[in-house]
């Protein structure tokens, strides 16, 4: 405490920064999925859109549109396509514009195994 006080007086900084080292508990958080686009064709994409309970996925032609803001990280798409959809591990997702959270994922014409 006296050390912090002295440091605050010296630097004029009264508050500290965001975690200086990686937070260990972050690894166990549910996180939005990441899509292995080469393994996903239109048919699989449609199935993923069907299992999504929060309307975070939809398909527009050869593009899968993923709304990260709507995703609840429930894991149903990961269960539906275990090889093609995995957890991203990203949780620092705050955005200053809503459309920055909407991701366009180009699909493969033919899914590679």
């Amino acid at each position: 405490m006296p050390l912090w006080f002295a440091r605050g007086l010296r630097r004029g900084v009264v508050t500290t920064r965001y975690p200086a080292r990686p937070e260990p508990s972050a690894a166990s958080l549910p996180t939005p999925p990441v899509f292995h686009a080469q393994r996903i064709d239109a048919g699989l994409a449609d199935r993923l859109c069907e299992v999504c309970p929060s309307r975070a996925l939809r398909r527009e032609g050869p593009v899968l549109i993923f709304d990260v803001g709507a995703c609840t990280a429930c894991g149903r798409c990961r269960e539906a396509a275990p090889g093609a959809v995995t957890a991203s591990g990203e949780f620092e997702l705050a955005a200053t514009a809503r459309d920055r959270l909407i991701k366009r994922i180009p699909l493969a014409a033919e899914a590679r195994p």
């Binding site: 803001g69 997702l93 809503r98």
Partner: protein, 187 residues
Amino acid sequence: MADRDAGAPATGPALDGRSGETSQEQAAAALRARVASQFGRSLHIRTLDTGSCAACEQEIRLLAAPHYDLHRLGFFFTPAPRHADLLMVTGPMIRAFDVAARKTFDAMPGPKIVVATGACALGGVYPADAFTHGGVGEILPVDVWIPGCPPSPLALLQGLLVAVDRLAEKAASMTFTADAPPEKVPG
């Protein structure tokens, strides 16, 4: 500790930003700098539950716990919107809450920040219907969007720091695609 109390009340001419169409961008930049200088060190948060399941509230409460300790970063919770600089809104904005949400927002002194918190508030879980607006953005001018169901305290902390311009946002550069094969491929 909080320098913001010493500053003048934020009702200067830069706030309305309607002095002229040509100088609008300059006024916006000046306002942004002023907000950052006022909010950069310390600010007070008012939470607003607009029909949330309370999972977001659980995580917001955890921010004040010793492990996350958001007070060390200069954030404080206040029970009064009149003392708040930042409004943290959870839930899908139920229609029954229209008047209360508007009154809360109007009661806050400017400049003010609105943070939509959680997938409901971002319009993910409930579609707009007779009971909800289906997202906070339909009613309030949202400045920062924090995804997650619920967002973890760390995600909330990052969102708050993005809101006061102390941390750069990362979401815009994330693609959520991976072309490298996953390490374990069952089947």
